[in-house]
Amino acid sequence: MGKGFKMLISCDKATHTCDKTQYDEASLWEKIKLNIHLLICKACRKYSSNNGKLTKLIHKSDVECLNATEKERLKVNLNNELKNNQ
């Protein structure tokens, strides 16, 4: 194995990959490297496990929020109503 073929990654890189994994944006090779890192790093194991739990909870709860346009519309309407009430 040459030096270009890096199996070991830093914690920073590992957490970054872990974050990307939560959004299905990590490549297979990145995920392999993450898992190798997790074998040897307890702190990142903890982070990875919590991160996964968070993703699962959010998915399970079907939590929703307003998008920018919807919020803007609410704001405009509320402002109009405020003016009318004064």
């Binding site: 959004y23 909870l57 307003l66 309407n77 509320l78 109503e81």
Partner: protein
């Protein structure tokens, strides 16, 4: 003179997502949920003088919202309820044998209890998001709840991709810590 500070200009930023999530788990329709949230804010404006400050502003708004949701169901029941009953009856003749089967609980369906817990969970998540710095909350919501892709968010907020991931990382770390106690 009102001794308790109420600031409607901040309502949307502070409470709209929370109220919206509360509503949508109960009415299942984005449009209707937004209308109800809006009605709640309007009603809040009208009765601002009656706010005694005994509860938090949000609890007070939720109590208004609850009444709005009940009113909404009353209204659609009086219009739609009868028509729905009639539709069911017209199916009865031919499919008599299916009746029992249709009534058997679907094990893959979410139970009422599950739904209740998930509603609470959703509100807990919004509570924790509410504690994040505004920028983190905004980016996290766009990425995670609205499902925008990285490029869209970067363009809209004028940040770089690595910026975005740093923000997401901080948000996720705080959120995990906030949710850990009760939900992990």
């Amino acid at each position: 003179m009102s001794g308790h500070k109420i600031n409607p200009n901040k309502w949307i930023d502070l409470y709209s997502d929370y109220l919206f999530n509360y509503t949508i788990t109960r009415v299942n329709d984005r449009e209707i949920a937004q209308d109800l949230v809006q009605d709640t804010f309007f009603a809040g404006l009208k009765s601002m003088k009656n706010f005694k400050g005994e509860a938090s502003e949000r609890t007070w708004l939720i109590s208004i919202l609850k009444r709005k949701i009940i009113d909404h169901y009353r209204k659609i029941n009086s219009i739609k309820g009868k028509a729905e009953v009639r539709m069911n009856l017209s199916f009865d003749g031919e499919d008599e044998g299916d009746w029992l089967e249709q009534r058997v609980a679907d094990p893959f369906d979410k139970t009422a209890e599950d739904n209740l817990e998930n509603t609470e969970l959703g509100l807990a998540i919004h509570d924790c998001i509410g504690k994040l710095p505004a920028k983190q909350a905004e980016v996290f919501k766009m990425k995670t709840l609205l499902g925008y892709d990285t490029e869209t968010i970067c363009n809209e907020l004028d940040i770089t991709a690595s910026n975005l991931w740093v923000i997401i990382h901080r948000a996720r770390t705080s959120l995990a810590a906030c949710m850990e106690e009760k939900w992990f």
